[in-house]
């Protein structure tokens, strides 16, 4: 009897395929020049934010380096000590370029940290709700619906009015207003995944529930979550800027881009545009770059569009 060809058509090849899937998504992402440009811009901004203390011309919060006589200089003007302020100075003689680099650091930090925290909490709650079902699910989804029926800006405003100013408090407020989006997104995909065979198989193996939920169910709900989270970082940054502009966000000693814009607001009417405009442009570039990357991720990770 002739030996049948081995039926192992899928074993080693499937592992290879799993690896190349990631690589394929990766190259798909770069098929769009716009997306590649957005990602490059984002990496550049992240680098500028992380290395701000080393690349900024001055430390804008070291009072010894500031000279009030340099206050409100127009972009390109020379200061008393002969150095050029390419983006001008604010009312305390602070170099705007340095202030923007430090502000970008705070804005991106708040956006990323609050999104990661909200995403983890929301994903855990959402996947548990979908897995448990029944009363837990009802309660969680009611809370989500109640919260999403009110505008985020208003909830955050009230929370910060209660907490007071501070970077930690802004992050908490942003987590509170954002977790519900993730909970809803994850629950949606977890409800679909829950009925799949691999969950049934895991149950038959009598794996502990927490292992099924967090090692089997959750990883398979991640792609839509990644897309939502990317775009939400931009939302979080814009929301933080708005709150800081309203005067309830970050403290004066640690100004984010929104705070810098607020400081320049008072000088806008007298034509000293640069104090508000340049931090705003930095904010806009960051938000647009994140949105371009998020948009492309949505196309690449969407199973309905994949080739």
């Amino acid at each position: 009897m002739t030996a049948l060809p081995e039926p192992a058509i899928r074993t080693p090849a499937a592992v290879d395929k799993g690896e190349s899937l990631l690589r394929r998504r990766f190259s798909e992402f770069f098929e769009s020049t716009g997306a590649a440009f957005g990602l490059a811009l984002l990496i550049l901004l992240l680098g500028a934010a992380i290395f701000a203390p080393w690349i900024a011309p001055q430390n804008p919060y070291d009072l010894a380096q500031l000279d009030i006589m340099d206050g409100r200089l127009a972009p390109g003007a020379k200061g008393l000590d002969g150095r050029t302020f390419h983006l001008g100075t604010d009312e305390q003689g602070r170099d705007m370029l340095s202030a923007i680099l430090y502000g970008l650091r705070i804005s991106l930090f708040v956006g990323v940290v609050s999104t990661v925290a909200a995403c983890s909490i929301g994903a855990a709650v959402g996947v548990l709700a979908a897995y448990k079902g029944g009363r837990v699910e009802n309660l969680v989804m009611r809370a989500v619906d109640l919260q999403l029926s009110f505008p985020a800006i208003l909830i955050a405003l009230v929370l910060l009015a209660v907490f007071g100013r501070g970077i930690d408090k802004v992050i908490i407020a942003l987590v509170v207003v954002q977790w519900a989006y993730y909970a809803r997104t994850v629950r949606g995909s977890a409800l679909v995944e829950r009925g799949r065979d691999y969950i049934e198989a895991a149950r038959c193996l009598a794996l502990p529930k927490s292992r099924i939920v967090f090692r089997h169910l959750l990883p398979n709900c991640l792609p839509p979550l990644i897309v939502v989270a990317t775009v939400q970082v931009a939302h979080a940054i814009a929301l933080e800027a708005t709150l800081s502009f309203l005067g309830v966000g970050v403290p004066v000693t640690e100004p984010s881009l929104g705070m810098l814009i607020k400081n320049g607001y008072d000088y806008l009417m007298s034509g000293k545009y640069w104090i508000s405009t340049y931090p705003g442009i930095a904010l806009v570039i960051a938000i647009v770059a994140i949105n371009i990357v998020g948009d492309r991720l949505r196309d690449v990770l969407n199973p309905r569009l994949s080739k």
């Binding site: 009110f150 505008p151 800006i153 208003l154 009015a161 800027a241 708005t242 502009f245 309203l246 938000i287």
Partner: protein, 325 residues
């Protein structure tokens, strides 16, 4: 239908009660308004007098009981700062905010629909793509910064429009409005445009999707076969059909527009309810903050309730599935 109606109204009342408790307890846990209200030189005795006059010396549960009792009688407390009923202060500012929100709503329709239809008719053209890019920007850019740039351009550089405030009012049906005079309109333009941009981007997307769908329908093909001019097909047949989702969504969004006016009013120093809220937060004027939030809660709950009831009236499946669950 009656059972559904009663249960839904019960849920709405419960929501208001829960929100009232959360709002009151959190706002009354903040800071000490006496420090802000009292003369800096006041001694402890004067401070205690002020606290007693405002009822702040009582334990929290008594203050809360009093708040609930008064709220049920339509009284949300007196402003610490103005010594006037908080609801009256809000009612005075309300016409300004409503005018701003309604004008912005109209603007968002007049900007959003034509651009959306255009982009829907030519989805692959350069103009269609730029409109969609613009709508992504309108969604994601921080609204207050757009407002600042509009001030910089139209008020500071070009000097065409005033940078803020509200124009002279004329009284119509007992309400002070500004849109009837040229000067009032000039004051309204920039804030209304800023507030409208976000919703306009939403309308662009809805109108584009609606147009793309409608253009493939049989009635459009039939109208074409009949020899009706393309302009008439778009203006009469397509437009009518895309208005349904647009109107639904905008009705739902009116509430969020009133809430978002907080930001726009601050940028343009526009004397509406939102500006009052921000000022009151700065002055720890608790009754005004609580009254504003309760008003917003009631507005949102009522909008959601009305929408749900209309859906249930139109679509029996909604009320039937609720009963099963």
């Amino acid at each position: 239908m009656l059972a559904y109606f009663i249960r839904r109204v019960g849920q709405a009342l419960l929501t208001v009660a829960v929100m009232a408790t959360i709002v009151f307890l959190s706002i009354y846990a903040v800071g000490n308004p006496v420090d802000i209200l009292a003369n800096p030189n006041a001694d402890a005795k004067e401070m205690a007098e002020i606290a007693a006059r405002l009822g702040l010396d009582r334990p929290l549960h008594e203050q809360f009981g009093l708040f609930v009792w008064n709220a049920l009688h339509g009284d949300l407390g007196r402003s610490f700062v103005f010594n006037e009923p908080a609801l009256k202060l809000i009612a005075q500012r309300m016409p300004a905010t409503l005018e701003l929100a309604l004008v912005a709503l109209l603007l968002s329709i007049f900007i959003g629909i034509p651009l959306g239809v255009w982009a829907g008719l030519r989805p692959e053209s350069i103009s269609g793509r730029s409109i969609m890019t613009g709508s992504i920007l309108g969604f994601s850019l921080p609204n207050f910064w757009i407002g600042l740039m509009l001030i910089l351009l139209f008020a500071v550089e070009l000097r065409w429009l005033p940078s803020g405030g509200r124009g002279p009012t004329t009284t119509v049906l007992g309400l002070p409005v500004t849109f009837l005079t040229w000067e009032g309109l000039r004051h309204l333009m920039l804030p209304a445009l800023t507030l409208a941009l976000y919703k306009a981007s939403l309308v662009v997307r809805l109108a584009r999707a609606g147009t793309r769908e409608a253009m493939l329908q049989d009635y459009v093909r039939f109208a074409r076969a009949k020899g009706i001019s393309p302009t008439r097909i778009v203006l009469v047949h397509v437009l009518k059909n895309i208005m349904i989702p647009v109107v639904t969504v905008l009705g739902l969004e009116l509430g969020s527009m009133i809430a978002f006016a907080v930001v726009t009013e601050t940028v343009f120093a526009y004397p509406g309810m939102g500006k009052l809220l921000i000022d009151s937060i700065g002055r720890l004027d608790r009754p005004v903050i609580v009254a504003y939030l309760m008003m917003v809660v009631v507005v949102f709950v009522v909008i959601n309730l009305v929408v749900d009831l209309i859906y249930a009236a139109l679509d029996p499946r909604v009320r039937l599935t609720e009963v099963e669950a």
